[in-house]
Point group: C2
Chain length 354, copies 2
């Protein structure tokens, strides 16, 4: 969704100080609960505070829920957004659309009353809290009475009624992965997924298995062949092989390739949650192949210099958390695969996301 | 070039300690000057020590050339490679092919006697120094008598006789840029180049101008409209417009787009030499467009979260220093453009590269 009407689709008109910067870089936003012509005003139900931010706040408040509530209230009153200045991070919100500005009403797929999850960071979202209802100290979910503003450029997902909220949020958190895999992977291809047994890895394997078809091949790599994710991948048939290996261990990775990837991979998806797996990803990929780094632990220079160091002509892509329709694709990935839905409900159904 | 014959094409057979790692991760390599069956033995003429590494060594040696020579000699004797343990960097070498292993001879485009520049880091290149002849304290070039080994996976470029060495090295240092631009840019496209007036930026603009043709458009961005590079780009007609702007200043970049990029760019090439230009690059690019980050100052997370934060569905590519034939493409970019050759000879012809 993008409109070029004034006010600014990126929300610079909401910046109070310093003048002229974008909302994420701003110290303070104007969170007045009124929808300008290209804004969406939402009643917020809960904040899912980013885990790094929540941990820091809990520590400062000695684990006392009442003090955490005061801290969040003061922070948001001061900055007009939930932007933790220590960790630099925010989170996302769940809420209900109250009003859609006239410039957006015709081109936006939302209607007042729709339940949504914001998929842009709270660090750039104007937020006004009237009251904090309750805090789940285990998960960092904060139930509030308050409002938030979405800009024309902000992304969001409608929360489906047929999927538990916690599952939707768990999936939406990594929605880019299945969408990008669906784009990149061709029928008959060989796909390597590093960190295959984690949340984004399982979704990537499921999507890749469907895309490559019977003539293709999906190989998962992860530290433990007996993890819940690894067992599920094999039981569901989403991988043709699962290699138990520390993906940072380049020689061990190389040693496994003759058996499981004799011609190497056309597409390698990196979903690992630790640093130091760039070279393994590059070496798993054939010349002219593609490496998709979905892991936020990826080092740009390790990837760039790693490929040069081994003389490998591969296309390396920075995982974009956003792709058109990524939320719908991610939820469809679950809906079309009852076993995968069951796995997600069992594993994430009772916990709040983030 | 890649062969699967043993010994290992990545050179693990040259690792002395710790066992099992790749040459770059190794503490010590075996630099014995004998070509194994899939290796190339070279007589080294000069090392171009990486500037960060050279600065550190000069400081430790109080700027005394004799002590710098001793330091380099001791370092290489200890590790079997020029791998500065403080900076982690190395450099490259210039030399002449002495012997090519039998498994490579048939498939390699080199012959004994060819002058080459290595395009892989000295941090992974077995190096044996008999004698240090001379050191250029201004540029970090170290003339030696000695030998180096190239592995089957190592990349190199033949040094042409029609181009001054210093110019070849300056161009080969950024050879990935023109090769990637030639691949990515289509006739009729609009291309934005950030950091257009630097070494890689000028090459990128020249290649982009040819690729887009008369119906396309190339727009350069850089801090100073009067820099030598900016003046050259306009005089040579490589850019349709040059915008004098600090590429980190997102609002200033945005303000320039209606005039110079009314429909935004199909391809954006980032050649900037400072941090903080990821969001500008993303915002310059249209939806479904491509951002190519050639700058080593790029932050992976700033790129990934930046695109998500503004809801932009662009493909972001990690600049790979290597692409097939990149050295030949880079040198051809100069040879086919006499004005560009003149500019490089004037600007880089008398200085050693790196």
């Amino acid at each position: 969704m993008r409109v070029s009407a004034s006010p600014c689709p990126l929300g610079t008109h909401r910046v109070i100080e310093p003048a002229g910067v974008l909302p994420q870089a701003a110290w303070k936003l104007d969170a007045t609960p009124v929808a300008h012509e290209n804004e969406i005003l939402c009643d917020v139900e809960a904040l899912n505070v980013d885990s790094a931010s929540f941990r820091q706040i809990v520590e400062v408040c000695d684990g006392d829920p009442a003090r955490v509530a005061e801290h969040v209230l003061a922070l948001v009153a001061q900055r007009g957004k939930h932007h933790n200045s220590v960790t630099g991070s925010g989170g996302m919100f769940i809420g209900t659309v109250r009003e859609i500005g006239p410039a957006l009403a015709a081109i936006c797929d939302l209607r007042p009353g729709d339940r949504i999850a914001s998929l842009v960071s709270l660090t750039l979202t104007p937020l006004h809290i009237e009251h904090i209802e309750r805090i789940d100290m285990a998960t960092g979910r904060v139930w509030i009475t308050g409002t938030a503003i979405l800009f024309a450029s902000s992304i969001y997902a409608k929360l489906p009624s047929d999927v538990p909220d916690a599952v939707s949020l768990a999936v939406l958190d990594v929605a880019g992965a299945p969408a990008q895999v669906a784009r990149l992977v061709q029928p008959g291809a060989t796909v390597a997924v590093l960190g295959a047994d984690g949340k984004s890895g399982v979704l990537a394997c499921a999507q890749a298995r469907t895309r490559v078809g019977p003539s293709g091949r999906v190989v998962g790599f992860g530290p433990d062949a007996d993890s819940a994710g690894a067992r599920f991948l094999r039981d569901a048939g989403y991988v043709d092989a699962f290699v138990a290996v520390d993906c940072r261990d380049v020689p061990a990775m190389l040693a496994s390739f003759p058996d499981v990837l004799p011609m190497l991979a056309d597409v390698t998806i990196n979903c690992v949650n630790c640093a130091g797996t760039e070279l393994s990803s590059i070496l798993a990929t054939k010349d002219d192949g593609t490496v998709y780094f979905f892991s936020m632990s990826t080092s740009f220079t390790a990837a760039a210099l790693g490929a040069e160091g081994v003389g490998k002509d591969v296309t390396m892509i920075v995982g974009n958390g956003y792709a058109k329709n990524h939320a719908a694709i991610a939820l469809a990935t679950l809906r079309e695969r009852p076993a995968l839905m069951d796995y997600f409900v069992t594993r994430y159904g009772s916990a709040a996301a983030h």
